[in-house]
């Protein structure tokens, strides 16, 4: 006796969250059955393995049919074939587009191209996430990217509108799309300590301040592309380190303000000295000046974190001196505010646009 056909169709489509998770994780039906058995479901319900197999198959088939609709979530809402309560619809969408931290760290900032897709088996092997699940996550990123690119308006809003994500997920996807578009390097060994959340936080700040959308909300791709003019202008900030008077004045103002308040004052003061290779100010300004070139834009995070041949950079030096986070914050605040008191410096607005974001990013990146 073999079962040729075995189906269950409810007027309200039954969604088993547990099976949905297994399906999303890319397990085959037999693996999913085995996992469910291991979870003790047979003991809890008194069901037989055959019942479990049939149930799992059925759910998988349902999910398979829903998948087409999940690719365009508004369709899921308006379709008539599956009657699903709104809360369940939201759950289906949210879970379908959810991604694994380990996976997203692998592809964050990479071009969402066929080439990257070919590397998915390596990623799968490395992360232990099934290839199927990797593909789904990758395709999700790509699908969202394709839909929202060349669109006007806020990136996160567009994503939310077209994919009906929760705020949080929409913001995460905005970060993924932004990173993919600007191809920021995130895979370097030095950057491994950073979580997706760290990058997403930075992405949000950069989208807010550094993109075209920050100055003009009527442009296509306004949140995805960095404001080229702004990046060009950043060269002007070089004067802060090139002009020795300005640098000294800046330093003395910062030191006066922070004296006694900073636990690592001496280290800070030492780092501020002009000829010293580890010049904090120079590092920050140089990062800005470099952003004119696309390649350097991609290396933004590497530059921020790592020491490269160009000179002293920021995060690593501070960490090696064991600055407490509070001290870093105090210093950065003072450092950027003080610039307003430099009479000879004419690019106050530019400085703020650059430094406000960078300060936020640096504080977020500054951890172990």
């Amino acid at each position: 006796m073999t079962s040729e056909l075995d189906i269950f169709v409810g007027n309200t489509t039954l969604i088993d969250e547990e099976v949905y998770r297994l399906w999303l994780d890319g397990y085959s039906v037999s693996d999913a059955v085995a996992l469910r058995v291991r979870a003790g479901i047979l003991e809890q319900t008194g069901a037989t393995a055959a019942v479990l197999q049939s149930d799992t198959m059925d759910h998988y088939r349902t999910f398979h049919m829903l998948e087409r609709l999940l690719h365009a979530p508004p369709k899921l809402l308006h379709q008539l074939v599956f009657q699903i309560p709104p809360s369940r619809q939201a759950l289906l969408i949210e879970r379908y587009y959810a991604f694994d931290e380990a996976f997203v760290r692998e592809v964050l900032g990479k071009k969402l191209s066929k080439g990257t897709k070919k590397d998915l088996d390596d990623i799968s092997a490395k992360t232990g996430i099934t290839l199927k699940s990797c593909r789904r996550q990758f395709d999700n990123f790509k699908r969202v990217f394709k839909v929202v690119e060349e669109m006007r308006g806020s990136l996160a809003d567009n994503i939310q509108q077209h994919f009906l994500f929760s705020d949080r997920l929409a913001r995460d996807y905005a970060a993924i799309v932004f990173f993919a578009n600007n191809r920021f390097e995130t895979a370097k060994k030095k950057l491994q300590y950073l979580s997706f959340g760290d990058f997403a936080f930075c992405a949000e700040l950069m989208i807010q301040n550094w993109t075209l959308g920050a100055v003009d909300s009527q442009v296509d791709d306004m949140d995805m592309d960095l404001d080229k003019e702004f990046l060009q202008d950043l060269k002007e900030l070089k004067v802060l380190v090139a002009d020795k008077d300005l640098l000294d004045l800046h330093k003395s103002l910062v030191c006066t303000a922070l004296r006694g308040k900073l636990g690592v004052f001496s280290e800070m003061e030492a780092n501020f000295k002009p000829p010293a290779p580890q010049n904090l100010s120079r590092g920050l300004v140089n990062v800005a000046a470099k952003l004119t070139h696309n390649k350097d834009v991609r290396d933004l995070f590497v530059d921020l974190v790592e020491k490269v041949h160009l000179g002293p950079q920021f995060v690593e030096p501070c960490r090696s001196d064991h600055w407490p986070l509070g001290d870093v914050r105090l210093f950065l605040n003072q450092y950027s505010v003080t610039v307003h008191s430099l009479d000879g410096f004419r690019h106050q607005a530019l400085w703020d646009r650059y430094m406000d974001t960078l300060r936020g990013c640096l504080l977020r990146l500054y951890h172990d």
């Binding site: 007027n11 088939r61 049919m65 074939v81």
Partner: protein, 1053 residues
């Protein structure tokens, strides 16, 4: 020109991409009604076209309005080649034809293609302007309302229940026409869909005409089926119950009938003609016709059994004395109740009712299940305009049913249904129902509600009246065990009662009910034509018999004594016959407590065998005890003196009525009567019997928190909460063709059904505590080695805590009632004999008992030991011999342990009316509920919008790509649900009640990567309002009489 149909095409969405180059579609719409077609403009390059068309107006006869569906076709415009069809929408405009239903159909309809399934949606608005038609000879029947619901619809009152209406229309099946060889599968499918739609419309119109002729205005319990006879044609047939319904105007009326003040209800103004003309032309006996047709049109009449529960007899139509007796009895019954007999004696050809639930007081007595089957050979329908052969076939069957009912002393059949099973050229026609005595006043000028109730209660104690035997105990058509009713002790009741109806709302039930199934397969040799039909008809009686035995055994095993909603389906295949009976078992307080089951071995000498037997015996006894606990069957014990001695068998019991049908000798000897209170003896003398006993024990009870029944509601549960989940589940298994034996087949089938149920319980576990209601199994044999089982049911959650409370109060109540009843009995001992004929003065119980004893075959010595527990071993033996289950001497000892004379008391009346429950807040916009029940828990139906009757075909030539057979059928059923919901929503409704999937024919050809499926569904579109929203209104209503069981029903009080 009595009607103007107006259609507006608004917009489309989610259309498929028809032009690969642009990834877009240039869509336009054709609107067709009858022979008139309109077109919209082409909306270029869009998947979401906005046509916003003008109103397309069709000026048509109302006859066409009823018959024709509105056909909307969405196409992709192509400048150079033929336009490609995207899909179609058929809209049945019938709901717009009567005033109280929908006024407009407006909404998004799925665009359906028989090859691709649903492809986008289209927004359509449809209106009808009807003009008054004074033509007396009109062919239309606009205005007659149709309901699938098999009870009086919730917001109506039945003024008159006229009776049975039926009709059938035949046609050639387009699939088998010559043109089908050259046209595409799509064209062929669409021709079929359209034809069936047309035929359904025509059928409904014709039935409507009959209703108008009877001066009714509605058809309740409308059941339309189609028979795909293959080469020989397509039959669409329908049955229903004609009624005159009055709409209840205020929401107050939604409350159960018992408390609405209806005393002032006036007599119906409609004078009722004595003849119910629907079929008055058939005055020649059908039987003669059968014989003459035999040459061209082979037909075998199958001897039938009457399931009264106690026995069967092949009840025949005997001559004068019997009829006289019947008349006398009915008359006396009527006189006793104050009705005038002549009223009842109207000539009513088939006094059948498709209803399964009735207004209080309508049902007076229930006799038992009557069924008839007949095997026919299909022949091409030569003239579609004269479907006389098929008509005659059904008339014959109905006649038989009618005579069976008469034999049971009943003048009517309720819960009536008809079905067919077709395999190649052989067709089994089946009909079944419950023989009953009805209150004649309802059939004429009676009103449904309270005014009659009081009068009836004077004669009939509530909750047990329907159990009292309608037939004469001295001239019973079959041997039976009768006792005085355990409730009122005034009239006699059988030991077991089988019915096809729902449990009457006022019935007194102990504990909860449960679903019982009897499953059976029989191998049959492949044969042709006559030989095949003969083989089938020879097998049928045995199958019926075994199904009955299984039901009885399982009923005993559950410790219960009555079956409701019994539905026996016999399916014919190439090389086997399948029987599946489903019913809901309950413990009726009015009936005696069932005895246990005892096992006897044939070779007592063998020690180990004995041990085995006793082991089995223990297992069975344990199961019974466990079941009693599980279903809370604990009728209050009542000492024997109060009950009085059981009534002995009448002397005439040897007089068996025989069937006139040409059945073999063994069959007429069938005596299905089972022991009464005695342990029920099963003898195990070969492996077959062993298997049978084993199979009894393999049925596992549902997991805790689950209950199941195939009736509308679960006896013993009355506090439904509002969560419902309707579902359809289909399974097909392939049998390994090697060495297929009956035994292996039975096991496979049994496993299939059990596993299916287990899967359902598992899937719905999140709804616990819940009950699967209206569980409807359908078996078909699509191919040689394939068995297909389709189940549709609804899971309803209930509140467990409240359930416990109610039970408690009911037991208390019942105990009180029992004691008062006892006093009454002592005061009026003479009433005991009220039911017997005057010519047979009832002898004192003891004496009668003795006389019966001497008549029975029990040795004197045994008799002496068993005086208190009258046992009738001989009766067991007469039937057991037949299937090698021979009755052995009953062991007294075991009887004493299994039988305690207990009495159940009236309790829980009104149990089932109280479905109010704390309302659930999660009602969302756009949700359409579907349920096979006639109600929505926790809600009131405020309006019936019309009948939904839809037929779909889906075909694929890329089966693998669509996920194999499971993927294909899963998607199709989901689409069918979607289309039903869309139609309901467009009518302005938010639910379908009495939903039924009447047909699900699935054919596959995996080698060709092809599959085809036909589905026919129906139901009533309604608007319901949550009880919470009605709360304000209902609190203002007098709730005095109603809902005594408000322990759980805080909503209305």
């Amino acid at each position: 020109m009595p009607g103007k149909l107006k259609v507006k095409i608004v917009a489309g969405r989610h259309l498929p991409v028809m032009d690969r180059a642009s990834d877009l579609t240039d869509a336009f719409v054709e609107v067709k009604f009858g022979n008139t077609t309109f077109k919209t403009d082409v909306y270029l390059k869009s998947l979401n076209p906005q046509w916003n068309s003008e109103w397309f107006k069709f000026e048509v006869d109302d006859e066409d309005l009823q018959d024709e569906p509105l056909q909307i076709t969405v196409l992709d415009h192509d400048t150079y080649s033929a336009n490609d069809a995207i899909g179609k929408v058929y809209i049945d405009i019938d709901p717009l034809l009567y005033s109280e239903a929908a006024t407009v159909i407006s909404g998004w309809f799925p665009i359906y293609d028989t090859i691709h399934g649903i492809r986008g949606e289209i927004n359509v608005v449809v209106k009808v302007d009807l003009f008054n038609d004074l033509n007396r000879f009109r062919q239309s029947s606009c205005g007659v309302k149709f309901f699938c619901t098999t009870s009086i619809p919730k917001c109506y009152r039945a003024v008159i229940i006229h009776g049975f209406v039926e009709e059938l229309v035949v046609n050639e099946d387009p699939e088998y026409q010559w043109i089908d060889r050259i046209r595409t599968p799509r064209a062929s499918n669409e021709a079929r869909q359209r034809l069936i739609s047309l035929m359904s419309g025509e059928l409904q119109r014709k039935i409507g005409l009959k209703v108008l002729e009877m001066r009714g205005n509605a058809v309740v319990g409308y059941l339309q089926c189609f028979d795909l006879e293959g080469e020989s044609g397509l039959v669409v047939r329908a049955i229903g119950t004609a009624c005159t319904l009055d709409k209840l105007s205020s929401p107050a009326a939604f409350l159960p009938a018992c408390n609405s003040p209806s005393k002032e209800m006036k007599e119906s103004p409609l004078a009722h003609p004595p003849s119910h003309g629907c079929r008055s032309t058939h005055n020649s006996p059908i039987h003669t016709a059968t014989g003459s047709r035999l040459t061209q049109n082979f037909s075998v009449s199958v001897p039938t059994l009457i399931y009264t529960g106690m026995g069967s007899g092949s009840a025949g139509k005997e001559g004068g004395p019997f009829k006289a007796l019947l008349r006398q009895q009915t008359q006396s019954a009527l006189e006793q109740r104050g009705g005038s007999p002549h009223r009842f004696c109207r000539r009513r050809e088939f006094p059948f009712f498709t209803l399964t639930a009735f207004p209080p007081g309508f049902l007076v007595h229930v006799g038992g299940v009557v069924s008839a089957r007949s095997v026919k050979l299909l022949d091409r329908i030569h003239n579609p305009d004269e479907p006389e052969t098929r008509d005659a076939w059904w008339a014959e069957i109905r006649q038989e049913i009618k005579s069976h009912a008469k034999a049971l002393g009943c003048h009517a059949v309720v819960g009536y249904s008809e079905s067919t099973s077709i395999c190649e050229e052989v067709c089994i026609l089946s009909a079944s129902g419950t023989a009953a005595v009805l209150n004649p006043r309802f059939l004429q000028d009676g009103t449904v509600e309270g005014c009659l109730e009081q009068r009836i209660e004077e004669n009939l104690p509530a909750g047990c009246g329907f159990c009292h035997i309608p037939y004469d105990e001295l001239n019973m058509p079959f041997p039976a065990h009768l006792t005085y009713c355990y409730n009122c002790r005034k009239q006699k009741v059988p030991d077991v009662l089988f019915t096809t109806i729902d449990l009457p709302t006022d019935a007194t039930v102990v504990g909860k009910g449960c679903l019982i199934q009897a499953r059976l397969c029989r191998l049959k040799k492949k044969a042709q034509a006559e030989a095949n039909a003969t083989a089938i008809s020879n097998l049928l009686p045995f199958m019926e018999y075994e199904v009955h035995t299984q039901l009885m055994n399982k009923l005993k095993l559950k410790g219960m004594n009555a079956l409701f909603g019994l539905r026996i389906q016999i399916t014919v295949g190439e090389n086997m016959l399948m029987g599946l009976a489903s019913a809901t078992a309950v413990y009726l307080a009015a009936l005696p407590m069932p005895g246990g089951i005892q096992i006897a071995g044939k070779t007592p000498s063998d020690g180990s065998y004995e041990q085995h037997i006793s082991h089995m015996q223990k297992k069975i006894s344990d199961t019974i005890a466990k079941n009693k606990e599980l279903y809370e069957i604990n009728p209050p014990e009542i000492s024997e003196e109060i009950i009085g001695s059981p009534i002995p068998e009448p002397k005439q019991r040897s007089r068996l009525l025989r069937s006139q049908s040409e059945s073999s000798d063994e069959v007429t000897e069938l005596d299905l009567s089972h022991g009464k209170k005695d342990a029920f003896v099963l003898e195990i003398d070969d492996t077959d019997a062993m298997e049978d006993v084993h199979s009894l024990l393999t049925d596992v009870p549902p997991p805790s928190g689950f209950y199941s029944c195939n009736t509308e509601i679960m006896p013993g549960i009355n506090n439904w909460t509002s969560e419902i989940q309707m579902f359809t589940s289909v399974r097909v298994i392939r049998l390994s063709s090697l060495n297929l034996t009956n035994q292996a087949l039975n096991k496979n089938f049994n496993d299939l059904c059990e596993n299916l149920l287990k899967s359902l319980y598992f899937k719905l576990r999140s709804m616990i505590p819940c009950c699967l209601c209206h569980v409807n199994f359908t078996v078909s044999l699509p191919e040689d080695e394939l068995i297909q089982v389709t189940v549709t049911a609804v899971a309803i959650t209930f509140d467990k805590n409240q359930a416990l409370q109610t039970t408690k109060t009911h037991i208390e109540k019942s105990l009180q009632r029992a004691s008062t009843d006892n006093e009454e009995l002592l005061q009026f001992p003479l009433e005991l004999c009220s039911d017997s004929l005057p010519s047979h003065p009832f002898p004192p119980a003891k004496e009668h008992l003795e006389s019966a004893r001497s008549n029975s075959g029990i040795p004197a010595a045994q008799r002496a030991t068993s005086v208190d527990y009258s046992s009738f071993a001989d009766r067991c033996s007469s039937w057991i011999e037949l299937i090698k289950l021979k009755a052995q001497t009953i062991r007294r000892g075991s009887i004493k342990t299994t039988v305690t004379v207990e009495k159940a008391s009236p309790m829980g009346e009104g149990n089932f009316r109280n479905r109010s429950a704390p309302p659930c807040a999660n009602s969302t916009v756009g949700v359409v509920k579907m349920t096979p029940l006639s109600f929505i828990p926790g809600a009131k139906i405020t309006k019936y919008l019309g009948i939904i009757n839809m037929f779909f075909i889906r075909e694929t030539t890329s089966l693998r790509e669509e996920g194999g057979v499971s993927g294909f059928l899963h998607a199709f059923i989901a689409e069918v649900f979607a289309m039903v919901r869309a139609h309901v929503a467009a009518l302005g409704g938010n639910a379908v009640v009495s939903y039924i999937m009447k047909q699900c024919v699935f054919m596959e050809n995996p080698n060709k990567n092809q599959a085809q499926c036909l589905i026919n569904v129906s139901g009533d579109a309604v608007i319901f309002v949550r009880e919470s929203e009605l709360e304000v209104i209902s609190t203002q209503q007098p709730t005095a009489n109603c809902q005594q069981s408000c322990a759980g029903g805080e909503v209305t009080t």
